[in-house]
């Protein structure tokens, strides 16, 4: 744990330093830039609330990827599952009208079903035809992208709008806002809590983790790895779908073109930096969200375009992951050297 913390913080600092060098090369002042960046994402109630709100889709897709990678299936379909979840929640919100107490859970459920359906498709292709989920989920991403684009351009198109989007969903389906804070954070925390509990305390989660580490051992130990595979795919799909539903219900209240943007891929990235750890996913999700939220403020104050953050994120991932590997090698080397010396004496 401590080793992870050290390598994580060191990696982020090195990455920020590399970012500073890039900025100096372009003639920007890194200190004012980083100042503006974190000023607009962390200092004050409203920036903090925005950062928290934006972190929800990142953390949920990150959680989806973490659980999937740690349990074996290489589910890279978060972008598609997020879109399908958002589409399902939007359709529910357009055609249903119930009191909020029923409406909000129902829409959240619909979003999860949408995501789980899309990942379930990949899981079925794997179970029935032995098709690698790594490629099928990627292809399903593209298909979901075009499918939702079609849906918001024709069947549920808002006729008063100029670009492809749906009308707003029923106000009963909007997530309530408490002060500055959007309640999507609460939904996310509940989902995180459930997943954390299942994954690290329940037998099911134990079986998933063991399967992820060594599927042969898990099978010989009596785990039903095929059944677990399908469950993990469905659960992770539902998580990504939930992220999509929350984006619609907390943000624009409608399905806009390019809604998912990079949330889901960023989620995969977060899972990768966090080495598939759940707590790590939560922390890195918050950190990446603060970067993305502050990006607009940074663009406002300094001349650095907000796209710079995308570059910075990728640098952080590479440096942290490479740093972790190198640190491990170094530590292992020292340990083995010490052992060798003990042996000699």
């Amino acid at each position: 744990m401590q080793r992870k913390l050290i390598s994580g913080i060191a990696g982020i600092l090195i990455a920020l330093f590399i970012g500073a060098i890039i900025m100096i090369a372009q003639g920007f002042n890194p200190l004012t830039t980083y100042g503006a960046l974190f000023n607009y994402s962390l200092i004050g109630l409203f920036p903090l609330a925005t950062t928290l709100r934006n972190s929800v889709p990142l953390i949920l897709t990150g959680l989806s990827a973490s659980v999937a990678f740690a349990s074996g299936p290489v589910n890279l379909g978060q972008p598609g599952q997020l879109l399908m979840g958002a589409l399902f929640a939007t359709i529910g919100g357009l055609y249903l009208d119930l009191p909020p107490v029923l409406m909000i859970p129902l829409l959240l459920l619909l979003a999860m079903i949408g995501g789980a359906m899309w990942s379930g498709l990949a899981a079925l292709m794997r179970r029935w035809f032995n098709m690698d989920e790594f490629i099928t989920t990627l292809m399903l991403n593209m298909i979901a992208d075009f499918l939702t684009y079609w849906a918001i351009s024709y069947p549920i198109f808002d006729k008063t709008a100029f670009s492809p989007m749906t009308p707003q969903i029923s106000t009963n389906g909007w997530l309530p806002v408490i002060g500055e804070f959007n309640t999507n954070v609460i939904v996310m925390l509940v989902a995180f809590g459930v997943i954390y509990f299942v994954f690290s305390r329940w037998t099911a989660g134990y079986e998933w983790r063991i399967t992820g580490q060594n599927s042969i051992f898990a099978r010989l130990g009596g785990c039903k790895i095929d059944k677990n595979y399908v469950t993990v795919m469905l659960v992770t799909g539902a998580l990504a779908g939930l992220a999509g539903g929350l984006v619609v219900m907390a943000g624009p209240h409608r399905f806009l073109k390019g809604l998912g943007a990079n949330y889901a891929w960023d989620g995969v990235m977060i899972a990768v930096v966090a080495n598939n750890g759940l707590i790590g996913t939560l922390l890195y999700g918050l950190f990446f969200s603060s970067l993305q939220t502050g990006a607009l403020g940074m663009e406002l104050i300094t001349a650095v375009p907000s796209e710079f953050i995308q570059v910075l994120q990728a640098v952080i991932v590479l440096v942290v992951v490479a740093g972790r590997g190198t640190l491990d090698i170094l530590i292992n080397k020292t340990i083995s050297r010490r052992k060798a010396r003990e042996h000699a004496t």
Partner: protein, 296 residues
């Protein structure tokens, strides 16, 4: 007849970027690297192709810049995956996102536009009219007048097949993937072979990117590789890396690409755009069924 030549030409130009990237991927496939960064390499190639062509007003410079841009990505991959032994899958994902981010950033920074950059100043790669052959009725329209990169691709396919199966480098390449320890113990550094395979992959993906932004169309738009790198990865896996098989698969994908365009008269464009990805799934299905039957 016009529809048929259109379809065939569409097939060829749709297949070219996938084929080029997949040929690059096949080197790393044989070298035993799980390389999923073709998408990113292609994208950065496409961006630098436009940059070079626009600033130097010449398409050879465009191609050169594309190769350099793509090589830069390959060098990052080498640094992290080969030198620092970072997980290849992780490096690939980060590199793809880095490519999307940095090209979007540079697009904004250098050209001051969002979304897409297209100006008359960008010089496209010319088409090659072969005299005599272009006089042949039907075949002339297909064999002649194609983009220069397309002819280059045919040569490169032959070259790749020759290099992998007939040269000493190819033998070492396959050995690096087959049994790295054995190669190392016979005095050839696996890391060096893998480095070269990634450099070759960078060059091929750079060409693929140049074809996308200077051949297929004459512009650069954000994320314009649009999953072609993933399709080429699927193509490599489907035929276990054989260059001739890759050429065939790429042509099939190219055909679905052109077929999708043809379908646009009857279906909304969103559905026709799905065709290549659905085709990949179908191809994967047949591959899996075949693999299972072989096992049984």
């Amino acid at each position: 007849m016009n529809i048929l030549t259109g379809l065939i030409n569409g097939m060829i130009s749709g297949a070219t970027p996938i084929l080029l990237a997949a040929l690059g991927g096949t080197f790393t496939y044989y070298a035993g690297i799980f390389n999923i960064a073709m998408e990113g390499m292609m994208l950065s190639g496409a961006f630098f192709a436009v940059l070079g062509s626009y600033y130097f007003n010449s398409w050879p410079m465009g191609i050169l810049c594309a190769i350099l841009g793509s090589l830069f990505m390959a060098l990052i991959f080498i640094l992290f995956a080969v030198k620092l032994k970072t997980d290849e899958f992780v490096t690939g994902i980060a590199l793809n996102l880095f490519a999307v981010g940095s090209t979007t950033y540079l697009l904004r920074q250098i050209f001051d536009v969002k979304g897409a950059f297209s100006k008359p100043g960008i010089v496209p790669i010319p088409r090659l009219n072969i005299p005599l052959i272009n006089k042949i009725p039907f075949l002339g329209d297909i064999l002649s007048g194609q983009n220069m990169i397309i002819y280059l691709t045919i040569l490169l396919t032959i070259l790749a097949a020759y290099m992998i199966f007939k040269t000493r480098f190819g033998l070492r390449l396959r050995a690096a993937g087959y049994n790295a320890a054995c190669l190392d113990s016979s005095g050839v550094s696996t890391d060096r072979v893998r480095t070269w395979s990634l450099i070759l992959c960078g060059v091929f993906c750079g060409l693929a990117g140049a074809f996308l932004s200077l051949g297929y169309v004459t512009l650069f738009s954000e994320n314009m590789s649009a999953g072609r790198g993933w399709i080429s990865l699927a193509a490599v896996i489907l035929v276990n890396g054989n260059p001739w098989g890759i050429a065939l698969i790429s042509l099939i994908f190219g055909f679905t690409d052109g077929f999708g365009l043809l379908l646009q008269q009857y279906l909304p464009s969103q559905f026709t755009s799905m065709v290549p990805y659905v085709a990949t799934l179908i191809a994967l299905y047949f591959y899996s069924v075949k693999a299972r039957n072989k096992k049984a």
